[in-house]
Symmetry: D2
Subunit: 417 residues, 4 copies
């Protein structure tokens, strides 16, 4: 143990169990620790703070441990000077590049703390220094694939501060726990809290992002989602080829896999409706063109188009078709998704593992995030992915969206057959 550094952290340390996770990290990275100081928050509302000396085998091992600890909001007492290296190859970071978190982050440049513009996890930090030395330098996250030779990239863990999430467990990011949870109707409470989160985002001038899988259509929730689109609760939609195709297929041909799925039966491939729906939209040129020409007259995508809402569809290797609107290059798809994150103030992920993880990867930790799925494994996996703001709800997607529409849309009633 030849390398050591003193770090500090402030927050609801005990309450949230975060200190426990910090010590786990140190152990996992082969390091050791001494707690130098621990000022405990005596009352529930108080913050605690701790100063810890961490040690590790050598400077490199220590630097990596320190970077890891910053994902918990643990910063060096003496942040030191920012270290920057120049990229030599397109798409390759310098060795020892600083790997980002999705937390609010600042870097120290020329004696000033400059905030990172768009927190995103697993990226590098690119410093744009203007020719004019008096101008403020800009620091932004950039994914590995988009970095160019010549860019200045932050290396090591010095000169960086990450703001720990300050919320207590009791508060949560939008009040899941604080509410007066009546014993009889937990589902109703969860539905209302999601509704409140969306209303609040809208009241704050923020946008609501949805991430959806084909289960939205299969479970019969399309009419509920259409109502929510029309009522203004879906500003942006991230999805794959499947949600849009199944929605369009359902509108064009009236097919549905829902009853089969609801009865726990697998659904066979077969329906050539699927492939015909794709061909129809490809012939029209785009979903919008199909709407404009009267080919597509209903469903979720129709509502998004007629309401002027934004959507990003990104393809996957299992896709048929795909629809002409689908990004077949996944990196271009990621870039398109990033471009739509501006002003997003609430995110609801429904019935998709792939696109939910993809969105979680690029979303700042400051955006409240709720994942809804009937499969506990999906919810757990999403909630685990380092997004401390994530909340999971294990329920039937169809019935959940029905109830959400009932909560948010004036006069909405469940369609009955």
């Amino acid at each position: 143990m030849n390398a050591s550094e003193t770090v500090e952290i402030t927050g609801h340390l005990i309450d949230t169990g975060i200190l426990s996770r910090v010590l786990d990290d140190i152990r996992e990275y082969g390091g050791d620790w001494v707690i130098d100081r621990f000022d405990v928050g005596h009352e529930a509302a108080d913050l605690s703070s701790a100063t810890i000396t961490v040690t590790n085998d050598d400077d490199e091992a220590l630097a990596r441990l320190l970077m890891r600890l910053q994902t918990r909001g643990v910063n060096q007492v003496d942040p030191g000077e920012l270290e920057v290296s120049t990229c030599e190859l397109d798409g390759v970071f310098p060795d020892h590049f600083y790997s980002t978190t999705n937390l609010a982050t600042r870097v120290r440049i020329a004696g000033r703390w400059v905030p990172v513009e768009n927190p995103e996890m697993d990226c590098g930090l690119v410093v744009d220094v203007d020719a004019d030395p008096s101008s403020t330098p800009r620091v932004r996250t950039l994914p590995m694939s988009d970095v160019k030779a010549g860019m200045k990239v932050v290396c090591g863990a010095s000169g960086i501060r990450v703001d720990a999430p300050l919320l207590t467990k009791a508060e949560g990011s939008f009040g899941f726990m604080e509410s007066d949870v009546s014993s009889e109707k937990p589902q109703a409470v969860l539905v209302r809290q999601v509704a409140d989160g969306m209303r609040r985002a809208r009241a704050d001038g923020k946008r609501v992002l949805w991430v959806g899988g084909p289960g939205v259509v299969h479970t019969g929730a399309a009419p509920a989602m259409v109502a929510l689109v029309e009522a203004g609760y879906v500003d942006v939609l991230f999805a794959g080829n499947a949600l849009a195709t199944h929605d369009i297929e359902s509108s064009l041909f009236g097919t549905s896999l829902g009853v089969d799925l609801a009865q726990g039966r697998g659904v066979e491939h077969g329906h050539e409706h699927h492939i015909r729906a794709l061909n129809t939209i490809r012939k029209a040129g785009s979903i919008k063109a199909a709407v404009d020409s009267g080919v597509l007259t209903g469903g979720i995508m129709h509502a998004m188009v007629t309401g002027g809402k934004e959507f990003v569809l990104v393809g996957s290797v299992r896709d048929d078709g795909p629809l002409p609107d689908v990004y077949t290059d996944v990196l271009e798809g990621q870039r398109a998704m990033r471009a739509k994150l501006t002003d997003v103030g609430f995110c609801l992920m429904v019935a998709t593992m792939l696109h939910s993880v993809a969105t979680g990867n690029i979303l700042p930790a400051s955006v409240p995030l709720v994942c809804v799925d009937i499969n506990p494994a999906t919810v757990t996996k999403l909630a685990d992915r380092g997004s401390s703001q994530a909340r999971g709800i294990v329920t039937d997607v169809g019935l959940f969206l029905e109830q959400l529409a009932g909560e948010l849309v004036e006069g909405y009633t469940t369609p009955r057959g």
Copy 2:
């Protein structure tokens, strides 16, 4: 292959895939077959019939195969004479006893076909022959544990006819498939079909049996179920200690595990509320006594008691307490359940594997049966247990019961916090 027998079957043989399963059975039991005659139903509504010669190694192997085939409604062309042996020990059937199905069954006694009184699977058939030879003999199913020395029990496969279920797949037992399934709302369709099944049972003067697990309480569905009890859609309830205890705990202490479960988190043991609720009811002497004395004033069990509805609670090895109403002897519990099956015309199983399987074991195949659970494995397992009438619905139990109450109970609205 030294033993052979000619059997016949009539029904929607191709449509339902039943003939495929018959041949699987023959293969599985080591036998072989020749199809002697196959009269195909030419149009969708027509019945088919087949005559098949089955062979096996020896008479015993053949007899067991024939018994197996009867579970599919395959009967011997020449049924032969009924063979009856006398039990020598209490609780033990004679060797080669006939093991029953839950299908309508007749046995040939003295030249007459006598119907079996209470079809139940995995039982023996006891023949009660009156001293007066002119009286009609009675034949009834009896579980192994209840047989007594001296009883006459049917052996072998001769002299027995089992009526194959005649329904086509398209009809189902209460019309799941035939309905005009609108593509947008499969869940709503399923809810309505369950509601229709309950209404029909009631209109026919039949009773509605519920089998429930504690998930009914955890998912916040207790108010919906209370409304359904009060509206007369719950005539009998089979459950364990857990449903009743959690319901009572919730009424006495206001505790709920629902939000935790809804968010996919495990729920720790801890709540000593659970054990105190048990002690409170044990002190009162019974659930009814607790209701009568004003100790218990709400919840599902309260509604059952005040509405004069019947319930059978059967314990399990994991129980705390248990409640004084719980049968701690599982055989006595099974007997109590059997005694409540009279006139049951519809059965809904909700959120319990253990009690659903137990009920499926004793229920005749003629009773329509729906299983609702959020876990596909539970639904599949129940639907697989030889009950051709079973239908499974994979959904959130809380939201499902909410919608069912909305469908069946005039003026029911979801309670909102």
Copy 3:
């Protein structure tokens, strides 16, 4: 907040996240807190200790909160005097009875700290005071159903100390985490750790308890388990009717559901082998009688009988038969299980939710406990049930037991078809 008490806790408070859970408890029970003192363990091996003043609305609410906190090892600084009430009814505790944990517990009687004899959760504490005042009083846990009128039962939270589990997360109860986990073979590591736990128990003169479900037979693990029984690694077996019946059915008739299950298919009820196997053993009188008379010549139960091992089979409401050895009364079954816990030093739970939860309910926290199941939900549920010593392994039961036998049994090789 009119009632308050000062409590203390010592242990690896931060490391294990236990303090976070303590504060969660206080919040959940409607209380509040002030942390009066927090002495942090500076180095990884050091213990921390904290003194906390907790408040709640009234004395009863506070007493219940204090009882809850004791399940975490949080004790009153001033333990006060033990309060004892006399039971008035058989099977009913006095109001405000102290509800136990499964942790080592002591009560203060006449100025002495008397250890509780058999820690078990959700029980009452019965004080046996001898007529002779000079003799040491005995204190033992007793389940609600077994208490008798006239017994002295501890009430409230005074005069009781619970020893917090002291282990750090890194140590675990038998070293799951500390080992040099090589990246390539986590399963092999887990298998070896279970093997080590069993070897250590045996070396310490302790017994190994197995809790098993029918999956042990279905997954083809019976030969591996037989080898482990013969090698002395199965001293006691807790199971239901199903494990024993399927094992016996497999020995008598050679049936197996394993390939079907392994391919993810549901298994239909049908096999009347099941019911015939039950009849055969009932005719013999008991499993042992069937072994002695040469009727049963192989399988797990045969190995247990011939090796003189103990087993407790407890029935459930879904049972056919059951086997003559099965306790049909679940309370008698629980008593029989408790009677076999003496000297148990390791517990392996395999492929059963029902009996694993039942065993977890009665096992002291000091016994290392591993749950193996292919279903993550089962493992999570068991690990969550307040048993801090529980470890879960999500894997294929058949292959796991194969590997365990390979590790523990000299010369064991996988049988190949």
Copy 4:
């Protein structure tokens, strides 16, 4: 019902339940039927054949039903003339294009039956007619995205014959069911059958295709898979960025998520090892370059490169990096996968839903296919996707591959820590 056509089918119609599915299809597509003739196969080995007149509302509805029926091997008695239309737009089929199955298919051109070159489902059929009328025309499948304006594409259902899979259920495509399944070791039987399938493919000069997810690495199966690569049982690997990155990360940094996963815990994002491993390989230029330069010295990808084996890695929207070898355009990825299918004679899918479905989409039905996953839902979903040849195995991937290596690789022993 104004349109009708007479169709025929030959095969193990009853045995396999295929006729039942044909009638389901007719019903689902709104049609009706009359069975004109049914020649039953009297003995188990005999084929049955049926002639059926199907009707539907109009010609278009009938044509679509006929196309659907061809996926079952049901062909028109009078196949009629092939209808071909010319594509007018790149990437768009003509209306009424024939949507393919993955079964062996022939089309009638100029009085000759020409086999389709590469059966693949959900494609169109492109007819290449040479200028020289004496040369044989070629017919091949082409996905929608690859069709070009001017190509001749088959429309309607006339002039096409699809060969029904002839195997009985008892035979399966590589004998899963026929074997003498010993009751004690179903897992071992399944392992051996997969091993036999691979040996047979190799003996026939065919290649073995693997489709893998990161679970191969997480479950500790990498050494087993390396042994299988070296022994020649992995000719081609289809995977995503994750399998390769986790494998490489494990080799470079020794990290593993396996124990966490094995204990049923979610795994948090965090490890920046992941992103550094990606950067390292991107810097090297490719996986092969990293092997050649000595940067990458172990693991699955290393073994593939040094053994000269082929792999296709296709990206997804959730990818970090990705590795330089990854196709970021999913359509290009699909094309690369198709190009590697030549001479594939066995396919093993392990621990991946996404790439397994993608591979199932492009694989002819004639290739034996086994899916292995610990999640029954994955196995069921894959087995359901119209691939009658698919077999699923629900088990622990790590232990399964261990046992497979033990079966196939001389001298392979499980690595022990």
